[in-house]
Amino acid sequence: MDKEMYDVTIIGGGPIGLFAAFYGGMRQLKVKIIESLPHLGGQLNALYPEKYIYDIAGFPQTKAKDLVDSLVNQAMQFEPTVVLNQTVEGVVKTDDGYFQMVTNKEMHYSKTILISAGIGAFEPRRLNFEHAKQYEGKNLHYFINDLNHFADKDICILGGGDSAVDWALMMEPIANKVSIIHRRNNFRAHEASVRKLEDSDVNILKPYNLKEIHGDDEYIQSITIQNLETNECVSVELDELITNYGFVSSLGPIKEWGLEFHKNSIIVDSTMRTNVEGIYAAGDIVTFKGKVKLIATGFSDAATAISSIKTYIDPKARQQPQHSTSLFEKIKA
């Protein structure tokens, strides 16, 4: 367990958390980011990786996932600690003014917190069967880490969006057999990918609904699916079941940390301070007079929040930082 004390722990690795991590590094703070998904990038990676964004200052157009890559590269120059797959559930302020954060896995320690949790912690939309949970981490997958794991296997993929189609196409050459099961007649993926899918050896089953999963104590062995037009049920044997029903997010526990909210947003002042001393917030999750929820304005929140955190930790520091043009090289030297 990492019992180290950080200057600032950033909750949420979306674009705003990533930029805050960079800015924290530049202001020589010891930074940790905690993100509930196995990847960084927030809404950009979870909801619209392939879309173009046109309103990032200085970039006439940039693909969402490319912007994330750039933000990650920029942030990693200062080597922040990155904790993935953990959702911060509770925050406690100790008597000496530090914070303890508990996640679903461990405890984290920090002098200050910057909440850039956006619209809340993302998680994959899970299968709606009570006994499905026990197969997670075995042969029920919501994420793909290692393609090799699927070599020579019989694979079923549930879903009809870009990721489901892309995964089917990636697995088809290495797997024994790939089936994709979608509830609708039309895939919600790029036309070109759908065409590729139709030309491939992937077994396309639509419009089918998942009715039941069958397995033993260890693994799912087969699923029953029902044709939504004919009501006919079919059983499909499988080695691996991949579910891609997209992501859902919810603010969940954040609302219980004693912070002042207006609807679903945390109220901050012009320094990005919340009502709890030592906790700051930035990005989509905040509200103040005139707040506009955009990436561009979130970046600005992040720079302000980090400057406020710097002066909170070190009252002699200046709120107005030196410009990166002079500061960056000095720090990296």
Binding site: L47, Y48, I119, F122, G246, S249, N264
Partner: protein, 80 residues
Amino acid sequence: MAFVITSPCRNEKSAECVEVCPVDAIHPGDDMYFIDPDVCIDCAACEAVCPVQAIYAEEEVPEEEEKFISLNRKYFEEIS
């Protein structure tokens, strides 16, 4: 802002929108679905999948459908 479901949903209730909404803002009413304007993040995913084009961004709702802006909001005020 928020997205709004309008009259074509009434007999349709296809629920494709419910499946794609990343914040679970879409709830079933008696004869149609409604979007919670305080939860919607304007991602437009529902608009794209609606088979009957019942969903609009609030400022693009056709004039004859405008009453649905308050109907969507009211539904959630009443259940909360």
